[in-house]
Subunit: 274 residues, 2 copies
DNA sequence: AGCGGTACTGTGGTCAGACCACAGAGAGGC
DNA sequence: GCCTCTCTGTGGTCTGACCACAGTACCGCT
């Protein structure tokens, strides 16, 4: 009509935004096997010229891929530089859930309920398995016996313990979800510390409950393991009355965005060696 | 030494990348309530100058937020333009799981097992609830009775039905995860069609199973609902032998990246009206 | 005075070019 | 032969520019 020049049609070949076309391109290559874990993405400049978009658009797509835990970027030169397909979902899942909780897309209550469902299934699954690998979980429990730990350190090990159970089940989807669910309510868990009168008693109770859970798993008693996990999780949240509460003090969380996810994995390993 | 100029230290105030600092800034504002759903993010240029970064870095962070389902961007002017906090997790969860499956970060077997766990818990939860809202689920089943449907349409309604059960539980976390899990294996489900001899018979069996699940829920029989869901889901995957199989034909999926997530929600609504 | 259209303005979307930091690779000197 | 030094390719960032778009405000006409 009057707005456009009406002479040159810019040929809208697809209704995708430029960066989305890059994302679709990469996803298609992942699906047909052109790209596999360990492979390098083409250099940004090459990708840009190949797809006929600007480098900034490529970078936006790369950024999304990085945030989704699909690639790892590294500056410099050599085999380790560039964007490499890694597919480490944990950090991405954590970031997604954490941001959604922050933006009130998810309620803490629902997060806890979901965690309950997943973890109960996990321990039952592990208990039923023939030869579960509980070494990591046991090491974490041993580490938690130290009386030197601050409540924050204790809770970090606690979180790692629960994730290690999921890892023992061998289900990476559940493991990633568990890690994400836990980290998304990290701030609320920490805030719950404030309302605990006798921390040492609480910690001791948690230690015993953990041992009880692991014991039931090792004994192959899935039902008991389920029940103990259920009461363990609901116990803490009932005690601290977190569910359906106001947000925690903002300063305690949101320190790092950490979308690559390697941080969380490294944390789990590191805490295990304490 | 020899590499750097060793005279000017560029003052590494934080080890975050520029776009990560933007992300952290937004997340902090989400947590302390400065930003809430419905609010507008500051304009990109303003955000850039306020945080002392380039606009491209702001855009990368915005892109991640959009991919995570936190914001919706709109060109133009007026109250609907700009970046608005929306917190719609479903599309983001779907994209994340789908990409991870594509990049072999998640095994299809684990996705199915996770779906099994979540959905069994969901139906038990809904069955135990006092007055479940199953209207949407029933409408979907009615729609699936139509003999006109192509297998693809049938499966789309099927997926919507399962998600609607999660929605009936009121747990948005599980709902988003269910939607994501399903969409991540969409290609494999479609590929399973190829090995089904008598599709009409299969469809009829699925219809009966769906009615059976919904009936058990309506009757408040959580245990039966659980068992029926379990056999329903394992049935299809056993029949099509999808689990632990090779990737599906690449062309059937990966059409759109669709990180905003509104597409999936719209799809659910749209299919319900068929 | 009322109405319609037009120009303006602010927003995201995209591109191009430039520069830096970085890390490996290879050439050069000892 | 070993060490050092430059060279090259990569991601990271910034700047500036332009476009498309959708309200908003203004202006002219009736």
């Amino acid at each position: 009509m009057s707005s456009t020049d009406a002479a040159t049609i810019p040929a809208p070949v697809d209704d995708l935004r430029a960066w989305q076309s890059v994302l679709a391109h990469v996803e298609a290559q992942l699906l047909d096997g052109t790209l596999s874990p360990g492979d390098h993405l083409p250099p940004e400049r090459t990708l840009a010229s190949d797809l006929g978009v600007g480098r900034s658009s490529v970078r936006e797509a790369v950024r999304v891929l990085e945030a989704m835990g699909l690639i790892r970027t590294q500056t410099g030169s050599g085999p380790n530089a560039g964007a490499i397909i890694v597919a480490t979902p944990q950090g991405a899942m954590s970031a997604l859930l954490r941001l959604q909780v922050a933006a009130q897309g998810f309620r803490v209550r629902d997060v806890v309920k979901t965690r309950l469902v997943l973890e109960a299934a996990v321990v039952a699954d592990v208990a039923d398995s023939a030869s579960p690998d509980l070494e990591q979980s046991e090491r974490l429990l041993d580490a938690m016996d130290s009386p030197e730990l601050t409540p924050q350190e204790f809770l970090a090990l606690d979180a790692a313990f629960h994730v290690s159970l999921a890892a023992a089940s061998g289900n990476e989807v559940v493991t990633a979800m568990m890690a994400g669910l836990r980290s998304s309510i990290e701030g609320y868990v920490q805030a719950g510390l404030a309302v605990i009168d006798d921390w040492e008693a609480t910690a001791e109770r948690l230690r015993e409950e953990h041992r009880g859970i692991l014991g039931a798993i090792a004994a192959g008693d899935a039902l008991t393991a389920r029940a103990r996990v259920h009461s363990h999780i609901t116990g803490y949240y009932t005690q601290t009355a977190l569910v359906a509460e106001a947000p925690p003090t903002p300063e305690t969380t949101a320190v790092v965005a950490a979308p690559t996810g390697t941080g969380h994995i490294a944390l789990s390993r590191r805490t295990a060696e304490q």
